[in-house]
Amino acid sequence: MVASPSLSVRHARIVFGDRVVAGGLTLDFPGGRTTCLLGRSGVGKTSLLRWLAGLLPGSGRGQPTAYMAQRDLLLPWLDLQDNVLLGYRLRGDRAALRAATPRARTLLAEVGLGDRSGDLPETLSAGMRQRAALARTLCEDRPIVLMDEPFAHLDAVTRLELQDLAARLLAGRTVVLVTHDPLEALRMGHQVRVLSGSPFAVGPAIEPLGAVPRDPADPVLLGLQGRLIAELRNTPSDPPGSAP
């Protein structure tokens, strides 16, 4: 894989509905690393990610990105392999589709679904579906991966397993992962940045030691988690002006 580029935001104004989520935002995401954006619900994490993905008006998407949302968004009428290859099917490039098919199989095997490639999504558990969504995201083979609370719906153990899997498979890519879970941010992120306020401000980069995925039982990590929770509690959960 070619070295993944860094991602830069310069003087961005992000608007969601009538609300200015961020104004004059300047932010850099280092290439080939995972940056976790941590913040309470409603702070504008998803808006920032959608802006980066080119899904909001006024966001000129510079580089091609792969997007993974909180819901798996698997299409119920396609089997797993066709779901993983969705991007190639939508772009209608037959040669690229043929070329990508072996990789889709490999990726399904890597997320532990190698024997399920012909099954419809509804036959799978929530954890398996999210693993298939991860395979689809990686199959796009884009240098920048945007993830919006991709494991929020899963039970605690499944979430930890998927974090390990994702960290391993995402190594070397430029990843922006949005989450409200401090432990997830600390396990997955080469750097963690806290979003707070309205319009939000981005806190300084926190760079825990050690390689990702980090051990959730590490006392240093747990200490950091306590500090982050305290920091999040000091920020208002709702944007000022909205109903309490």
Binding site: A69, L73, R89, L90
Partner: protein
């Protein structure tokens, strides 16, 4: 099992009622008499039923194709939607029974006018259900397809259309339930064959049991059409309703 017991109970009550009141056969024939006519005139009845069944099936097919095409055109093009959607709605404001004589006048006493009538009755539920489904695609799927650089055409054909198939299937079920209405109205107004035609003819001649026998077959035809459509709809949409919160 329960519906069967209810049906047998009702038939028995009907038989007893006709026997107890001594109502003339040409007003209300007992079920036993209707059953006897069903057997005696089986050849005639089956011949007419086949004719009506052909009208229903052709009308349903035509209505489904027309309805689906219009819904896709409306979803794909705002221009067409603005110009043609009001016309579609106006066409539904005219009671179909009021245009039936006109259709017979234009298309003749044969099958064409009944097929047109059935298609006219069913195409609106189909357009409305499918167009609605096409408008309500899960926004998450749209976002995902956009990040994958899907063209508007790919978005429509590969995401929005399959996502709308469950809605189309419910439209098709409604269509199958009302298709017999269109065909039979057409036969009442003017026809040379069919169960509706047989009913008007036999009632005019006081052969009420034959009219009832035709009615029984009409009912069976309607049920068969509905269940066949339901079966096909399940085959078409093997997955459950689209995911969503």
């Amino acid at each position: 099992m329960r519906p069967l017991i209810t049906a047998v109970g009702l038939l028995l009550a009907w038989e007893l009622l006709t026997w107890a009141t001594g109502v003339p056969v040409y007003i209300l024939p007992p079920p036993s008499r209707v059953a006897a006519v069903l057997v005696e005139r089986f050849d005639l009845l089956i011949e007419q039923a086949a004719w009506t069944a052909a009208e229903m099936v052709l009308g349903l097919a035509l209505g489904l194709v027309l309805g689906a095409t219009l819904a896709v055109v409306f979803a794909a093009s705002a221009g067409w939607r603005r110009w043609a959607l009001p016309l579609v709605i106006i066409s539904q404001a005219i009671p179909v029974i009021a245009i039936a004589p006109l259709l017979v006048l234009w298309l003749g006493y044969g099958m064409a006018s009944k097929v047109a009538m059935a298609a006219l009755v069913i195409f609106f539920p189909v357009v409305s259900a499918l167009y609605d489904g096409l408008r309500r695609t899960d926004p998450g799927w749209i976002d995902l397809a956009q990040t994958m650089d899907a063209s508007p055409r790919a978005m429509l054909l590969q995401i929005r259309l399959p996502a709308a198939l469950p809605a189309f299937a419910s439209g098709a079920r409604i269509a199958a339930a009302v298709a017999p209405i269109g065909a039979v109205i057409g036969e009442w107004v003017g026809a040379s064959a069919g169960l509706g035609f047989l009913m008007t003819q036999s009632l005019a001649r006081g052969q009420t049991p034959l009219a009832f026998a035709a009615l029984v077959l009409l009912c069976l035809l309607g049920l068969a059409l509905y269940h066949a459509t339901d079966w096909a709809a399940r085959r078409l949409v093997p997955w459950q309703s689209p995911q969503g919160e």
